[in-house]
């Protein structure tokens, strides 16, 4: 890929999704866009770029989706799910005992491994949640990714990355080489397409927000803006879960870290001024 082509794609990605790729991610773009170019019947990435430059919105959307799809697996990093079970849920069960409902948002739900991991955690809690209304909202930028999440069908490779074998046996149905998560768990997850750069206040209020491994791609101002908007749709006693390489520290005081619970944050009660990031004004799709 020529440097101007790379710069063009970087800017395209930044404008459409807010993702800020560093200068050394050529391999990433090539590994994502070459299969897409082939799928579209094009000879390679230069042809794909030509289509985008010519104003083809189909190709633009597909290219942005391909570049923003992240690797994910069940119970990724394990620790956040331990926190969910041992720290978050006991508190939520107490705090919501009267209302008996809990709303969870997976803000980068991707192909479903994270929301379904949470659904399995909740199922494992058994009787403690009997009679509760549990709602997991999974959002992602990519419609294609959401469709896969909705179907809940995974390859043999995918179900072996992080998913304990007992969980596979308990919560999945085998169909040849593929494994589908049970309808009961699928019904716990609602899917919605969403760009984090755009207004998401319509989603309602959440007790728990998982927003892992997506903010790392955004620039600092965008991160701050998203944190401040997340704080607004979170219950005052809610929990925010970030990825291992992410933090609010030094960016915003709307959330404060929970000591000795890496990746776990709670609203601080401070309300920050809201302005939409500039990138969000750019033409979306």
């Amino acid at each position: 890929m020529t440097p101007p082509d790379y710069e063009y794609l970087r800017k395209l990605l930044k404008d459409h999704s807010g993702l800020d790729l560093s200068a050394d991610k050529q391999y990433l773009i090539e590994s994502r866009l070459l299969p897409l170019a082939r799928k579209c019947g094009l000879s390679g990435i230069p042809d794909l770029i030509a289509k985008i430059k010519a104003g083809s919105s189909t190709h633009t959307v597909q290219a942005v989706e391909a570049m923003t799809t992240n690797e994910t697996f069940f119970f990724r990093d394990k620790v956040p799910f331990d926190h969910f079970r041992d720290t978050i849920m006991p508190e939520v069960l107490k705090a919501r005992a009267a209302r008996r409902s809990i709303r969870i948002w997976c803000a980068a739900g991707s192909t479903g491994q994270e929301p379904y991991s949470l659904a399995m955690c909740l199922k494992e809690m058994g009787a403690a949640l009997a009679g509760w209304r549990v709602e997991i909202t999974a959002t992602d930028l990519s419609q294609e990714v959401l469709e896969k999440s909705k179907a809940g069908i995974y390859s043999q490779f995918e179900v072996q990355r992080g998913l304990p074998i007992q969980m596979l046996v308990k919560y999945f149905k085998q169909s040849g080489e593929l494994w589908q998560i049970n309808p009961e768990l699928r019904a716990m997850v609602q899917h919605r397409q969403l760009n984090l750069l755009h207004d998401f206040s319509q989603l309602g209020t959440f007790d728990v927000i998982f927003c892992r491994n997506v903010l790392i791609y955004f620039d600092q101002d965008t991160k701050i803006n998203i944190f401040n908007r997340l704080a607004r749709l979170m219950e005052a006693d809610g929990f925010l879960v970030l990825g291992a390489a992410e933090t609010v520290v030094g960016l915003t005081d709307t959330f404060k870290p929970i000591p000795e619970r890496r990746g776990l944050y709670r609203p601080s009660g401070v309300r920050a001024a809201l302005a939409m990031p500039r990138a969000a004004m750019a033409v979306g799709y």
Binding site: F73, D77, K78, V79, Q156, F157, Q160, R161, G162, P164, I165, Q166, L168, V169, Q174, E177
Partner: protein, 129 residues
């Protein structure tokens, strides 16, 4: 250093497994069937067993049953690694005391993930491996 007994009748699979496990800082012992593996366990119990199902002389399932009957035989973590990918086989294995189950084909990431799952490997190992 932890030891892992690799039981598979394919020399190629044993070699691939050895390379992955040595990368994870395990000392590797090889056995080409369940009977040889059982003898090795009588000499010294390993920390982990990576176990094929279908093998001549004694298959992996029979080995597992025998191992779990031995004194101290409940301690080693047994991870099946087999082309028997049906849920019936998986259930049988778990019932007989297997700790984890890898469906072939496998790669380094899967072995790391499964070994982490049963507590044989620190959680941050995947970052360096």
């Amino acid at each position: 250093m932890k030891t892992c007994l690799v039981v598979d009748d394919s020399g190629v699979v044993r070699k691939i497994a050895r390379r992955i496990l040595e990368g994870m800082e395990f000392t590797v012992i090889e056995a080409e069937d369940g009977a040889v593996a059982l003898e090795a366990c009588k000499q010294a119990l390993p920390d982990a067993v990576l176990l094929d199902w279908n093998m001549p002389v004694m298959d992996g399932f029979e080995f597992l049953v025998q191992l779990r009957r031995m004194a101290g035989g409940d301690v080693p973590k047994v991870v099946f690694c087999t082309t028997e990918n049906g849920i019936d086989h998986i259930s049988r294995a778990l019932h007989a005391g297997a700790n984890e189950y890898i469906m072939k084909p496998f790669d380094k990431d899967i072995v790391i993930a499964k070994f982490q799952e049963v507590g044989l490997l620190a959680l941050d190992a995947s970052a360096e491996a």
